[in-house]
Amino acid sequence: MTKSAESRALPADALYRRCNLSEFQFKCTAELAELADFVGQERAAQAVQFGSSIPRQGFNLFLLGPSGTGKFSGVRAYLQKKAADEATPFEWCYVNNFNKPEMPHALKLPPGRGVLLREDMRRLVENLRSAIPSAFESENYTARKHAIEQEVKEQQEKVFEDIQRQASEKGIAVLRTPTGIALAPTREGEIVSPKEFQQLPESEHLRIQAAIGELQERLQSVLRQMPKLEQEGREKTRELNQEVTIFAVGHLIDELRKKHSDLTEIGIFLDEVQADVIENVDAFLATEEHPLAALMGVSFPDGSKGSAFFRRYNVNVLVDHTGNHGAPVVYEDHPTYQNILGQFEYMAHLGAVSTDFNLIRAGALHRANGGYLILDAHKLLMQPYAWEALKRFLRSSQIRIESLGQMLSLVSTVSLEPQPIPANVKIVLVGERFLYYLLSSLDSEFEELFKVAADFEESMDRTRETDLLYARWIGTIARQEELLPLEPSAVGRVIEQSSRMAGDSQKALIHRRKLSDLLREADYWARQAKQSFVRSEDVQRAIDAQVHRASRVRERLLEETVKGTVLIATEGERVGQVNGLSVLDFGNFAFGRPSRITARVRLGKGEVIDIEREVELSGPIHSKGVLILSGFLGARYAPDHPLSLSASLVFEQSYGPVEGDSASSAELFALLSALAGTPIKQSLSVTGSVNQHGEVQAIGGVNEKVEGFFDLCRAKGSLSGQGVIIPAANARHLMLRHDVVEAVAAGKFHVYAVETIDQGMEILTGVPAGERDSSGKFPDGTLNQKVEARLIELAQKRAELARASKSENTP
């Protein structure tokens, strides 16, 4: 190792930040106090606190951040705690609108009163169904009704008898025919036959004709009176029925009025019920068909007057807060249009579908009225018309139930238009960041309706305090999920792994789902070993098992590299060839993959050709990184000469897209090596991006990349001083595996942190880079001097060729 390399090599303890277990003054996590709400999310917690408390329209919440960061669980726990101290909201019921059944009335009732009213009404109808028939079967009623009917019949019969008497006196018969009443002449009680009639004298003919003519007028007059008499009889019967009904019903309904006298709405409803009962008293008199009745001629109850009829007096309690304390916190897991706004169902009856207020079903907004409704933004937006419906509600603050079919004019069956219910619901949307930004930019109403954004962090700083906080969080999850308590060493290992997952030794990942998964797996292994506590070995075993399950592709790639199918050298030196590092990310698992990068140089017009880009396998950021190389070369070397090279760069044996600029430093190293003709050590691998000033910049996935090259070197044989050059800015991100750290400690592997291209080239080639002296020249023998000399040479050749070409073309 050169002196330069030695100074850039990171010590083993810089590669992994251990947790200070001496700070943990507990034997296991069961001793730790529970943590509530949000962990490490101060900004988001303040936003939630503010948004959930401000009683202004439009101040609804959008919780944004990656999934698994505890947004749902945190906000739900917080809101439940907050809501418990708030007032229990009113209940809402739907009752029949007796004048317009298609427009049911909404009743607003104090908590617990809805069910009470429902039961009262059920009992009232039961009582009415027995009290009204009893009243109508009473001796008093029967007698009075009979008297009315008799009166009508007697009146009718009297007028007929008068007619009959008068007719009889004149020798005329009055007979009932299938369609009416007929008059005919008689003789000795028998109707006169045509033959007999012909034999009668003319005077008799005239008499009969006159008599029938006279009777005809009277009969017609009487017939015209009949409907009027019957109508009068019906009117009297109706008045009697009303009187009897009021007598039977009044005291029963009055009891309810008295019981609910504190609520005007119920009083109005009971008035309507009483009027309707009186109007429809026949329904209470139609009884279930008795076998004797069926046998002897009782008609079947009319469908509309059967048991179904009494549904009109039901109370449909949409939201029941009986026994509830505090405001509701509702999470709707399936936020469809119907599940949010509520719906009315239909029922089939004799082949037709119908609906009424009893079939109105509450939606999440009804349940959350007076409290909070938590919704998954992605699920909400996936449901047709749900987002628009929610916005309509937020604008109007009214829950208006409309069927989708009706809204889209797809169905034309009789439907309902329930009275809208005023509602005050704080909506909490939870979703990924991109959804928030998309809605902000594409939906003009969004910012008006969701004024408070709670942006969730993915990680928090690791300090002594936060390590202790993290330990409490681990303990809380273990308790909530009924896992074995963790020993301090296990807690430390979990925290260290959270740093690794955060990709930063100074941070800890606050991703509840990932953390829970790790704890559950560690618990599994601990229970397998019949332990009472989870130890660090269990955590490590869980981590190893997770990696092992996901590492099939990594192992196949390593295998092919070791066998020589994929050409990567880990020993020797080569000009214009360097080992670069990329990361393959499979979502739940990422690993570093070494790639051979080569550069070839010849005379040209100053082009650096990226072959990946030429064949369209390069992403825009990668292409940008390559173009920066031209800028670096042109500015740094032979500034007075045109850049006259044609360089080609390629990721060897790469057959897929390449993206990112983390290989741009490696490409520059290969290019400089090719220009200088100085070989690069193949025992090293490089990662880092570069700018036009030759500064090496931070990249992502540094741990995976280092471990990727480490795994390759180890797979190809014993480790013998190989290493990885990383940007110095990435040193703080290192949380390497224990085996890597141990190899570094043993001097078998190295991690170098560089800030500039010169530092990297010195380590890779063992040759000093060199800096310009007072005369502006690089010292002889240095890398930079060789590069510049080659570029000047190429520029001069190009100038010569240009002159020669010009003289040939001059006549």
């Binding site: 025919t177 009416g180 008059l183 005809q216 076998p291 001629g297």
Partner: protein, 291 residues
Amino acid sequence: MSERELRFRIHRILVPVESAPDTMAALEKVVELARKLEAELLGLFVEDINLLRLADSPYAREFLYHSAAEVPISRASMEGKLRAQSERARKTLESAGTHAQVRCSFRTVRGEVVSEILAAASQVDLLAIVKAGSLRQRFRMGPTVLQIAQSAVPVLLLPERGIAPGARVLVRYDGSPSSRQRLVAAAELARLCASALTVLLALAPEGLEHRLEMQKEIDSLLAGYNIDIHHRLVDPMDEQSVPRAIRLEDAGVVVLGHEELLKTHKRIGDLLHGTRTAVLILGNGVPSQAG
């Protein structure tokens, strides 16, 4: 008289039909009765001879019920109307019979209505009359009914609106052979209709010591009928006692004999007018198993 002979058996029921809508509905209930009794139903439509005579009269006039308008009247039109009535009645009966799987036949006769009905009734075991339409007037509790009661044919007078649900079957019992027959008929009816039976024990005040004896007699006669039986004392000398019992018991069907009818028909007629109580009149005989 053996128990077998006492069994109330109906094989053929005569039902006079008209085509008025209210009688059509009631007709279906008679069909149901025939089904329960497993009896054959004979529908009878009588073309009233007086109406045909009337139609022949040159000065005859007809005035419609609901408009009082005068319409021409002729024999042809009257016959047409009666035929149409008859056809509707036939179809209704057949339809109801098919639906209930009851054997039905139907015939039309021409003549004086009551006479023709009584003549046809001599061929059957029961005459069922729904008191609706013109039959309501013709079969009032009066001379016509008394005339029927003298025949051997039992007559069931059904109220137009049918019987009130839960109503009881009520019968008077004095130990005489005819009252035994009526008791058994009433019990059979109660069994078929799953109703309770009220037996009016006709015992003079001085004969009350025979009450238990009479009850045992009734129990013996009705052994095997799984029905709820109640007893009520009535004074045989008090003509009001049966009407009073009908009212108090809220009877659905009253089973009466000829003698009782003679004594009480006016009072019972007034009492039952417009109610939903049926009357089963058993004159001089009850159809038996052997019959």
